[in-house]
Amino acid sequence: MFRPRPDARPATIEVLVDGTPVLVPAGASAAAAVLLAGLPAIRETPVSGSPRLPLCMMGVCFDCLAEIDGVANRQACMVPVAPGMRIARQHGARAARP
């Protein structure tokens, strides 16, 4: 469903989306990596368990919340990729850690 434009920069940065290596162009967002990885959902909402993927890609809708490098509830569309970044799925509400 989601493909890079033919004139896109070359995919040179490797990140891990839900444990799977994905190559994305430098400067792309973590949300773009999620879409390229082809996951059915990046998270399930805390109250109803409804599945979500990145939608607005501009920091408004919060549908792309993901655990990035161990930090929960980050807006993946607002985080530029970095080599080796770990983007993990979230199931329901994040945990608070005493």
Binding site: P46, V47, N73, G92, A93, R94, A95, A96, R97, P98
Partner: protein
């Protein structure tokens, strides 16, 4: 113009609870709501069903509050059965955390005095030291030295409660009229008329439950409600998995996972703006109580105006000059919803406030004026 058995002015938690209760007594009741320009304290409520700090030096208020907490399970069950709305009531008891030995000693003295004032009604409470408290609550900060606990405390969702009260009232045949700010009225014993933007209404009973609006409305109906606004601010975190087993005086986790942090008490007139210094204080105290809260993002914040009498206690009255005119004023629309719907409304329907409410009359302020 429409004639009814009762007019309730104010569609917030106080008015809606009373209107729901009056409808339950079989009264043809109209509920007049101002509209979204109103201050809407009910929308800003923190959501505690709270007993332990209420009524210091005023044991009648402690009794009324505890009575309301006692009525809450039946109210929640009734609303759930009628509307399918879960008000998220939980009453596991609650704690007031103390962040220094001085706070702990003050709290202990306060709770002991409240027990003494309660007399034969009793006041079940315990002062809990840090060791035992660690078994009750997760990840307390190093400055928490202990807490007071009472088994009466709990919390609920203010918005779900408001929606459920409105729906139960209208589905039982009550008339809810929005955008109906009262613009004028006239009073005679058991004969009241109000004019609103949505028409005129008459009834032999009227209940003023318009929050801060009561201050201006009351004199028209032979009542006195000297209430003033007191600003409170709240911060709300993102949702987290259930971690807090009970509410504290200023921190509670909702049924859906957000953690609410309160509260401030600011004398700022009708100004509802928020400013960073108070928000920072709220966040700082929360992080001192539970350092792990600092890891959570704040996703919402708001302020609202409490409806405060000069002594901070509720005002309940029936007019001497115009019997049939009642007023209800408080800053605890959630806590007191059980009492308003199930104890106060039947009194109003019967035409007389019970003697247990006598100490809440606004006449208590007359003495100070005369002196």
């Amino acid at each position: 113009m429409t004639a009814r058995d009762a007019i309730v002015v104010g569609g917030g938690l106080v008015g809606a609870a009373i209107a729901h209760g009056l409808r339950g007594q079989g009264l043809d009741t109209v509920l007049l709501d101002e509209g979204d320009v109103a201050f809407r304290a009910s929308r800003g409520n923190f959501g505690l069903v709270w007993v332990q700090s209420k009524g210091f030096g005023a044991p009648w208020y402690q009794q009324w509050t505890r009575g309301s907490a006692g009525e809450w399970p039946a109210l929640a069950a009734d609303l759930a059965a009628r509307t399918g709305i879960d008000t998220a009531l939980q009453q596991p008891g609650g704690v007031h955390l103390c962040l220094s030995e001085a706070e702990f000693d003050d709290r202990a003295a306060r709770m002991a005095r409240m027990q003494a004032e309660a007399g034969n009604h009793g006041f079940d409470h315990r002062m809990i030291r840090r060791g035992e408290l660690d078994d009750m609550l997760p990840g307390l900060g190093p400055s928490v030295v202990g807490a007071s606990f009472t088994p009466y405390d709990g919390h609920a969702s203010p918005l779900a409660l408001l929606q459920a009260l409105h729906r139960a009232f209208t589905e039982a045949g009550g008339a809810y009229i929005p955008n109906a700010k009262v613009t004028g009225g006239s009073a005679a014993p058991h004969d009241f008329r109000v004019e609103t933007a949505a028409g005129a209404f008459t009834a032999p009973r009227i209940v003023l439950a318009a929050g801060l609006g009561n201050a201006d409305l009351a004199p028209v109906f032979g009542l006195n409600t000297p209430v003033r606004p007191q600003r409170g601010q709240i911060l709300v975190t993102e949702r987290a998995g259930t971690i807090l087993p009970m509410p504290t005086t200023t921190i509670r986790q909702t049924g859906e996972g957000t953690i609410m942090l309160g509260d401030s008490m600011e004398e700022a007139g009708f100004d509802t703006r928020q400013a960073p210094p108070v928000m920072a204080q709220i966040a700082q105290r929360a992080a001192l109580c539970f350092p792990w809260i600092a890891e959570l993002n704040i996703v919402r914040a708001w302020s609202a105006l409490r409806v405060m009498a000069p002594d901070g206690l509720p005002i309940y009255d029936q007019s001497d000059r115009f019997p049939g005119a009642f007023t209800a004023n408080c800053h605890s629309g959630v806590t007191l919803a059980g009492a308003h719907a199930r104890l106060l409304a039947p009194m109003i329907a019967a035409g007389a406030l019970d003697p247990v409410l006598a100490p809440f009359t606004a006449k208590r302020f007359d003495v100070q004026t005369a002196a």
